[in-house]
Amino acid sequence: MNGIFEVNYAAFSMFAALLITEIMGAVGLLIAWPSRSKVLDYIVPIWEVTGTFGAFWVVTGDFAYPGLLVPVSAIFTPLLIFFLILWVARGASIAFAEFITKRGWLDEERLFTSYAVSTLVLGLVVLVLLSALVGGQGVSLASGSFSIISWATAGSVAFVIGTLLLAVGLAPVFFDLQALHSLVIPLSGIGVILSVLSYWLMSPGLLTLWMAVPVLLTLAVGALYVWRRTSKIVTNKAAFLAVLSVIIFSLQPLVYPKAVGQALAIDAVTTTGAMSNAFFSITLVGGLLLALMLSFYVVVATRGPSGPDL
């Protein structure tokens, strides 16, 4: 087991879970603006935390794989710059939208729409990046380049569509949108099928028995929501986020021990020696601090009369 990989991947799982729930919220804002309060009650306090988990993942990645920085920068620079612009646009739009008062054409709805569109496009960019890291389509490690035309294979496209369908299909669960509950099983079911198909198309070796874990967990979330007696379990946001993080964490065979279409052995590029010890020491101290702050957050947030003061 590669402990450094596990920490970095755990950071990614938490970041991805938060980002996916934001994407779900973005969809909600775009298609159901009148019922926005359910979405905003969640997104408004949490979007800053998503960004911090993003930084956590990026920094642990830099720390974990120093030798990958040069090739990654060469291969993904245009995609990363596009990502960064969307990232700032997303942060700026929602920060402005939260406290804006209407004057002229610019109002809360336009700014939240800008946030939702930025977040959705950002999600697409992340999915393109992730599918390239999993299957290696479009990536040339030898020449240090990325081609979006070569990336656009059936496997990559199925990966993106499958994940988006899962996000849309599970959005009613997360935000408890009863009016859309009939979409949950069909959309998340098709999402699971497309996702599994995409792994097989990218590289048949990715499909191991272990993949049954994320598949069953995902289907269980949808099923628990549809059955009224158990719907409360999965509409609890903390529980949903925890399960989603576990689902993403259990997808790690897609990139470990080998990533980028089986061309990159993770253990061979992981930091070692004194830097490895420093990585674990800081993770321990930082992790304790994070756990303390999150506990404090949960205590205060659950004590509040009706969610955050918006």
């Binding site: 935390v49 990654v72 245009p78 830097m275 955050p308």
Partner: protein
């Protein structure tokens, strides 16, 4: 159209300088904002003063914007560093500088979670002091982030914690003898943190003060004016304390350069040859190895850097190969920074005297009108301070280890995305400041204090 590597190197330098120059505008106002909120709420509780309470509440909304855009911009810079200077970041990732960046993420978590609780759960806390205590964590998180990133810069100025000779000898391929935690305390770390923190707080304080000065003079609403004058009272005190500390820490910083980066010291002070009892020179230039023109103040250099005269031998450019000299323009940027700092000190001295004489300087139209150009000057001085530090280290990105040219990615594929980033920042920074104001004023209309 292919762009030659030399031009791309210039573009890469410009792009990062532009990005970080824009980013620190957000950082300095963020740090000042968090202090202002922290003090305002405390005073509001102590004095049961509604105007201070309204100030803290309204500013906390502005701080959310500042934090949101600032952290997003910080992530842009982190990724940009990998794209623009990959060899440098590979070195960083293999040494203790990476440990500093990782520690910074912990500070971010502290800041963000405390901020979310502070802003969004204000009314959940039954005891006001408990709510105020959360702002202590926001302050600690914000300052810790600034401290860790300054530590990385100190490490770039005085690198340690790895075998530099072996690294250079291997053609930048092998990093050995790594001691990750050594980077937390290089020989320049303490002085640089002291100077960076107080000058950053000072610059932000002046900018926010200018906003309140403008609105105090313009507003006809008595309630609003009362709140602006309270903000200016706090900001005036913060500016006076931080300008004094900026002077002291600046002197400490020069003392540190004298020992740890003597070439940078010589370039800043325009010393062409070493010597004792050298004059402090302003606004001249080095021509054919001689400093010409400008104003000289005899014997001042060692006095300012070491609090003595005639004993310390001060370094000169002639002691170093000319190809390792930084651009000598840094002498001018350093002079503008010093003289600008003195002018700001005089302005704040007048503010202080007025306060001692109970003339209420925070309500004096004359002083408040002067505050606005003073804030522009403070921003210029702050930016020039960073420019002096960074350009003064040239040609090195990591002092005496790796040059910027060796670290940079000069692929012309960066040109178009780079231009897009510049255009983007040109829009984001003014829009952000516009929204600071609009949100601050908008909260008033929605919920009068």
């Amino acid at each position: 159209m292919a762009v030659d590597p030399g031009s791309m190197l210039t573009f890469v330098r410009f792009l990062f300088a532009f990005t970080i120059g824009s980013h620190i505008l957000l950082v300095s106002t963020s740090i000042a904002l968090v202090f202002l909120i922290f003090i305002s709420e405390f005073v509001s509780i102590r004095k049961h003063d509604q105007a201070y309470d309204a100030l803290a509440r309204r500013l906390s909304k502005v701080f959310v914007i500042s934090f949101g855009v600032g952290t997003a911009s910080g992530i842009v810079m982190a990724v940009e560093l990998v794209g623009l200077f990959p060899s440098f970041m590979t070195l960083v990732a293999s040494t203790g500088a990476m440990a500093l960046l990782y520690a910074e993420v912990s500070a971010f978590f502290l800041e963000v979670l405390a901020l979310v609780l502070y802003v969004y759960y204000w009314n959940t806390f039954r005891r006001r002091y408990s709510h105020w205590a959360v702002s202590v964590f926001v302050v600690i998180g914000t300052l810790a982030s600034a401290v860790f990133i300054t530590m990385v810069n100190a490490w770039m100025n005085t690198p340690n914690g790895f075998d530099t000779s072996a690294f250079i000898g291997s053609g930048f391929k092998t990093v050995t003898g790594v001691e990750p935690f050594a980077a937390f305390l290089t020989v320049s770390t303490v002085t640089q943190i002291f100077h960076v923190l107080v000058t950053t707080l000072f610059a932000g304080t002046m900018v926010i003060g200018a906003y309140f000065a403008y609105w105090f003079v313009r507003s006809g609403d008595a309630g609003e004016k009362a709140m602006y004058s309270r903000a200016l009272k706090i900001l005036g005190a913060m500016a006076i304390v931080t300008i004094v500390l900026s002077g002291i820490s600046g002197s400490e910083e020069m003392g540190s350069l004298l020992v740890n980066q003597p070439l940078k010291y010589a370039a800043l002070d325009g010393n062409t040859v070493p010597g004792t009892n050298l004059p402090d020179r302003f606004f001249g230039s080095v021509v054919n190895g001689t400093y010409v023109g400008g104003i000289s103040v005899p014997g001042m250099q060692a006095l300012l850097a070491k609090f003595e005269t005639g004993t310390t031998t001060l370094p000169g450019l002639s002691q170093f190969p000319a190809n390792t000299w930084p651009p000598l323009l840094v002498s001018t940027t350093f002079n503008v920074m010093t003289v600008g700092g003195l002018a700001l000190g005089l302005f704040l001295f007048a503010f202080f005297v007025s306060f001692v004489r109970k003339r209420r300087p925070y309500e004096s139209r004359r002083l408040l009108y002067t505050w606005i150009p003073a804030a522009v000057l403070a921003t210029l001085v702050y930016q020039l301070g960073w420019a002096t530090d960074e350009v003064g280290r040239q040609p090195w990105i990591v002092y005496n280890v790796m040059t910027v040219a060796q670290a940079a990615n000069t692929s012309d594929a960066l040109l178009v995305p780079g231009i897009v980033i510049v255009l983007f920042y040109l829009a984001v920074i003014p829009v952000t400041f516009y929204f600071y104001s609009r949100v601050f004023q908008g909260v008033r209309r929605e919920a009068p204090a």
